[in-house]
Symmetry: C2
Subunit: 569 residues, 2 copies
């Protein structure tokens, strides 16, 4: 392509509000433009990157016998009522009434639609496993839009779903997708770190995220530098400290206006770890009470995993009061099965905690689990703290800001059971398929590559992803140089951006670096001799001279290679 | 691919409600499945066809230097308010409020978004022309869903937009897209007929549709078999008859309950062509009155074209009464500039018509244009009738039921002016780009090909569109046959569907025909000798034997060819 014909030219500057350096380069290079309101357009250069990313993903999906399909973006709400997720997903999901007053949604993910597809697409459990994927526009009405392409409302996503006859078949398949994801990111030049994560509103039991450490990341990843344990902070495990002593007699204390752990600790003259924090959350099947130590936070993701059903927001005051509980002074004592009670392991092991008395302005001192309150549900439901050590090897854990680039979920039979998808064996036994779900946001991936792989001059794309492999230009007014440039361009026009502008070589060099095209090819009667051509490698920033007769062979060889940039940022 | 691994197997029967034979084959073959409510999923086979169609379209767009981009599906309503189209598009357009209470829409087309894109993508009028296209999901909340893929709510569309410095540049470019469209359909094996059409809610002045005569079509196309004139009935022109006589004196007549042309004609004992029909319509800028002869229908598309602004629905009774008009007895007499009055040419040329008296239960006899009522707006605003003759050559016109497969619009500066998109020349003069808009629905195209190109056995895809080029199978238990089959498959797996089922040859033959794979390759020790292979051509239904040593060359030659099916349906 000729640069003068390209829609979307480079800009010298971008708007001051842009924090992500990678995104600033994408804007300056003419890859994307914003319409405001978290809506972006992809210009021809951006579209070429998207096409290349899709091709890599497609190859890796098909390597696992993935088959490409397409399900509708718009779903009737009934689908979501069947799975129960209409109650799990909040304002992220756009809901509207169609002209016949039916309730429809813009599906933020497509587990339901794929369950429906498998229902009509397969005839027997013998047809399992099935691995299906699509590229599809998603719209999630996110609360916060951030860092350009990293978090947008509308985005293109590769979502994939697998269906299996048994848990063990899913378990055997899952690592293959794990591997495919690692290869995809590797081929993009990214070093991703897989980490355990929460399941959010997807359901199921187990999930992994593929993370890159990144200052504009939205997650905190916990990792053990010694043994390699790695997890999202929301589910990370660690060795927690305990404080025990001789159980004392329980007694009531007046604690006016002590509804926060800070206030209570100060008022009582105690450390926060000597207190217990009691909270009530909503789930799809009612309320649940959780107790953690005063110096801990409840991990909703851990609680979700323990309960096997998604934990939603905190119950509101009215709901709490209706059940006879006193907000601010909640107590695990006297619950007696009114609602399920889950107690964090550290609470169960502590002695003489201060808990609410379920009475306005009163707490109870010296409460002891097993003596004053009980529950069969003792589990790790609290977030770890920076000082906690690795559960596997005892080394100090580290917190790293990270960006999630893809995630994979083991959904088990959550959807097939709730949506009644089953196949009958000869024996009459119903087989509810086990399911996995696997997503990568294409726009975010592009944004992350830009953020991770750039230097101060501009972007650094892996050769398989770059818009063009070659940036071609001639210097000077020599007719013979121009003819040679034209001849090279004619032969490699698909993979070459010919800078045919009437600009100085300096401006062109600058734009070539900004766009991150892997090879810059310069012909110049002055700089080189007439019959040598300069090849400049964007990654190594090294130049070499190639004889004009060898240019074709050199370019062909480069096209066949799969060069990855050295990490720039 | 191996058939046993394919997601979505063939069905023997489909639901009785399916009227389109082509769609029935698509369902039976496992190309698509329905979720109900006008929502469809594309299975792997359907997805392959879509991919191939996109590739053909992409090639033709890039031949015209079209550049692929992507704009958001969701638009803020402000964009549509700027162009004024928020008032033009009715319930087809889904509107919703986002979480911050902003009004958003699922854009049914993307003229506004592309105007916005050009605003941020171009810096000077010197960068014009620009030709941009995208493939994007659209959602139109259509009133009627019909004939499978022909009219669905959600569909994939190729939409393209061109921007020009002048009307003449647009006029020069427009025929090139016209040609590209003809090539696209030709390469799909379809003989499309371009026809003039109305502009609907797109705005602009001139539009063409690409039609195929088809029993499940939704349009009536008028054509002249002699001179080739062709237009959608809504805008077709024809030689109309006139009835003139000596003007008589106008007089009032009591006409109780005569609010329809039928009742009035019967009551007066006259032919309908002796009456005038007066109607009031809404436009974006207020109401307009239209008068046609009693035996004609108003063509809203012609009225739109004449006014240069879209004509919406009929005004409602209250609006009419507010202006002092009497519904059912509307009259062009005495309008005197209250609202614009457009008179059909046949009315202007007729004598002694019966018109309403603008008084309940009263009409006026012997009304004559130029004497009793006047207007500067005399134009062809009525639909032609089957008996009308060609305006160009006088031959009898024919009406043909037809299906529209794509359309192209000359929008002129409708959007650039309303949305304030301009570039400044050195002289300071503002250049408002002239614009064209060009659409093809991919799902409908696939549905139309299935409908047009099939025989009683199944589908007939052009080789460039077919899911696979080869359907490969062995017959019998011979190991050496099986090995040969495997060897061929290993070499051509990308383009081959290997039927590895344990089914009878009859069932496999049947499915090969149903799926419309261009070449069936059969190896059989019994039918042929061990070293000959049968190639069966789906289009010609001819078989020939190829020596095993020549199979590779034959298959490669076929892959390089671009075979089109003979029209089957």
């Amino acid at each position: 392509m000729k640069y003068t014909q390209l829609f979307g030219k480079t800009l010298r500057n971008v708007h001051h509000g842009v924090k992500s350096q990678g995104f600033a380069f994408l804007l300056r290079g003419g890859f994307v433009r914003t319409h405001g309101h978290g809506l972006y357009s992809y210009l021809p250069l951006g579209n070429r990157v998207v096409r290349n990313l899709k091709q890599i993903i497609r190859e890796e999906m098909e390597r696992l016998d993935g088959q490409e399909v397409n399900v509708p973006l718009v779903n009737p709400i009934e689908m979501w009522q069947k799975s129960g997720r209409d109650r799990l997903v909040g304002s992220d999901m756009v809901r509207f009434k169609d002209r016949t007053d039916r309730n429809m949604v813009l599906a933020p993910s497509h587990e339901e639609a794929f369950v429906d597809l498998v229902r009509v697409g397969l005839r027997s459990y013998r047809d399992l496993p099935a691995f299906l994927y699509q590229f599809q526009t998603k719209y999630r009405d996110e609360e916060r839009i951030r860092n350009g392409l990293i978090r947008t409302k509308e985005f293109l996503m590769k979502d994939a779903y697998s269906f299996h006859r048994s848990a063990s078949d899913l378990n055997n398949f899952f690592p293959k997708v794990f591997g495919a994801y690692q290869r995809i990111f590797q081929r993009c030049g990214l070093n991703v770190l897989p980490a355990e994560s929460g399941v959010g509103y997807m359901g199921g039991q187990k999930a992994y995220e593929f993370m890159i450490p990144c200052s504009i990341g939205e997650d905190i990843m916990v990792e053990c530098p010694n043994c390699g344990y790695r997890a999202n902070k929301s589910v990370a495990m660690g060795l927690k400290d305990f404080h025990t002593g001789t159980p004392q007699e329980m007694e009531a204390v007046e604690t006016p206006n002590c509804t926060s752990m800070e206030d209570l600790a100060e008022f009582m003259g105690l450390e926060k770890h000597q207190l217990a924090k009691t909270m009530i959350f909503k789930t799809m099947n009612g309320l649940v009470m959780a107790v953690v130590r005063g110096d801990h936070e409840v991990s909703r993701e851990k609680l979700t995993r323990y309960l096997g059903e998604p934990v939603l927001e905190k119950a509101d005051q009215r709901e709490v009061e209706t059940l006879g509980f006193v907000p601010g002074y909640l107590s695990p004592i006297g619950v007696n099965g009114t609602i399920p009670l889950v107690v964090d392991g550290t609470v169960a092991k502590s002695t003489n905690l201060v808990v609410g008395a379920n009475k306005e302005g009163v707490h109870l001192k010296n409460a002891n689990f097993g003596r004053d309150f009980e529950s069969v549900n003792v589990a790790d439901i609290s977030m770890i703290k920076p000082e906690n050590k690795c559960l596997q090897c005892g080394s100090p854990l580290q917190e790293v800001r990270a960006l999630e680039l893809g995630n994979i979920f083991k959904l088990d039979d959550f959807y097939s059971r709730s949506m009644g998808l089953y196949f009958q064996e000869e024996s009459g036994k119903k087989v509810y398929p086990f399911m996995g779900s696997y997503g990568i946001g294409i726009g975010r991936l592009m944004g992350a590559i830009a953020e991770q792989l750039h230097d101060k001059r501009g972007l650094l794309w892996a050769s398989r992803i770059a818009t063009f492999c070659f940036f071609l230009m001639g210097i000077g007014k020599s007719d013979s140089v121009r003819q040679k440039v034209d001849r090279i361009y004619a032969q490699f026009s698909t993979d070459t951006l010919l800078d045919d502008r009437k600009e100085s070589p300096g401006v062109k060099f600058q734009d070539a670096e900004l766009l991150g095209i892997p090879y810059r090819i310069v012909l110049s009667a002055k700089r080189n001799s007439e019959d040598t051509v300069e090849f400049y490698n964007r990654y190594s920033r090294q130049s070499r001279l190639v004889h004009i007769d060898d240019v074709e062979t050199t370019m062909k060889r480069i096209l066949e290679s799969d060069d990855l940039p050295t990490q720039g940022a």
